[in-house]
Symmetry: C2
Subunit: 300 residues, 2 copies
């Protein structure tokens, strides 16, 4: 499974039972936390996110609604005797802030905490099935978006067909890598007779906080799912510009121009008590838009 | 009104819908916040605490469950265009932590924020109707309890009686201060003929995190309401000692020996999913004990 679970969809100030920004990206049983506003650990309990499965945290920028919950999460991991290594990525001086707070409380963590400072766009994580890269967004302070690109999977073997063709099991891995099989008598069994193509790697792109900026389009390009902030409805375009945020139609335009398959919108201003208009406005430009609703899992 | 509202009654890790420590002390329309664990601002919304009435925050110590919500609260005050001055008291280096986080986010607050470093026991606040003092508790790191002592109110005038006795209104304030009135003909109207005694000043004492320590008794002495932590039930007395916390019966013994009128217990360990036993055990020693329940207002 490749999916995104929304833990907080509000902008700066919590309101109307909406919480500051946080999401969990799930791929093949691993949880990657993206931003961690205040109360994220409580939202995790509310929505039964397995905290023990979190190995990496990505913080986009150091406005409080995106990271004030991190120190609490790390401290709780310590108290809960979490054992798995934890990698945290964020801009300077996140590392210093967390280290200071741990030191002051005389906290000894029972796991290895790796605090990585993001200094520029690039690859943050490269595993067997996933590549996470970051890119600069256009915000009031240094801010990064994150792209979660699933790696292309090997071809899938049809074991019945392979047995029928009397291909030895030892050759199965090579079949999955796309090789043909040549019998001792010289006859060739074409790979596509016994395998089916893998699904191509899917891509989730989190655009963090940003004003409308088409220089971000290459990162969004052809993504299966894009999260783009919509702090304001479209009549507040000027305010959005001034505060380095985006409106509904701006987010939708980015998804459209980037040829994304689906758009998720969030980071709603606390001035709005209902969200229906956000959905309606964005869909005028990009129909396949959904509101990022807290507690909801959005599969890719 | 003089009362305490509980916002969080759990120890370190949030669990079972219980939140980290925070309380609001209300006196004559002013709100004083005592400790501010993660999510306190959300609890304030849940329980309709008027954030605009908060002028002072007292942080007992720098374990995260007592202060991780402070930076979020201050930031939100800024975004909500709070105008009233805010005074925050806490041990070193709380001031440095808050200032660093505000600086990193490039936050400009629209109100005056005064960060006071508590360095020793003493008076923190002295107003017309309230004196707040702090005292050291016996915890793993530097930690302070807080005593909220209402000042003795002036005597209450019986205006009908005063009119009947033909005392000029200009003399009423002096009556309230306890003076007798002497008529021009030399006859004296005794003060207690036209006034009734004021209720003596009430006292609330918050003992923060602490192990059992009788040297705290002078601070508790004769208090109308004492909050004392009970992280553990009494069978875990050794663990409590080791971790600089207290048990039910230890808290109740403190209230008993300090001749307190009423005891409130809280800071329950996350290992307990129900709290009835806490109440029962403490009441064996000190019957007038109540659980600190979130959202409940305890009047003095």
């Amino acid at each position: 499974m490749f999916a995104v679970t929304i833990l907080g969809n509000n902008s700066a100030v919590p309101a109307f039972d909406r919480h500051p920004t946080s999401q969990v990206v799930t791929l093949d049983g691993n949880n990657y936390l993206v931003d961690c506003g205040e109360g994220t650990q409580i939202q995790m309990i509310n929505y039964k996110i397995r905290r023990s499965k979190i190995s990496h945290v990505f913080i986009s920028h150091l406005h409080g609604d995106h990271y004030f919950g991190l120190i609490g999460l790390i401290s709780s991991f310590g108290l809960l005797n979490h054992q798995q290594e934890l990698h945290v990525f964020g801009p300077h001086p996140l590392k210093e802030i967390i280290e200071l707070q741990l030191k002051v409380a005389d906290t000894k963590l029972p796991f290895a905490l790796h605090l990585h400072t993001i200094r520029e766009a690039g690859v943050l994580l490269d595993t067997e099935n996933l590549k996470v890269t970051c890119f600069r967004t256009n915000h009031r302070i240094e801010c990064y978006g994150f792209s979660f690109a699933e790696k292309k999977q090997p071809r899938k073997l049809d074991p019945e067909k392979a047995r029928e063709m009397e291909i030895p099991a030892a050759f199965y891995d090579r079949l999955k890598d796309g090789e043909d099989y040549t019998r001792k008598d010289g006859t060739v069994i074409r790979n596509d007779e016994v395998t089916i193509p893998a699904t191509p790697g899917r891509k989730y792109v989190y655009c963090a906080d940003t004003k409308y900026d088409e220089s971000l389009l290459p990162h969004i390009q052809d993504a299966d799912l894009v999260y783009h902030e919509t702090t304001y409805l479209d009549n507040l375009r000027e305010r959005a510009e001034l505060r380095f945020h985006s409106t509904t139609k701006q987010a939708a335009t980015m998804a459209l121009k980037g040829n994304a398959k689906r758009l998720l919108i969030g980071h709603f201003s606390s001035k709005y008590d209902t969200l229906e208009e956000f959905e309606a406005e964005a869909r005028e430009v990009f129909p396949n838009t959904d509101l990022a609703r807290e507690g909801v899992v959005y599969p890719l």
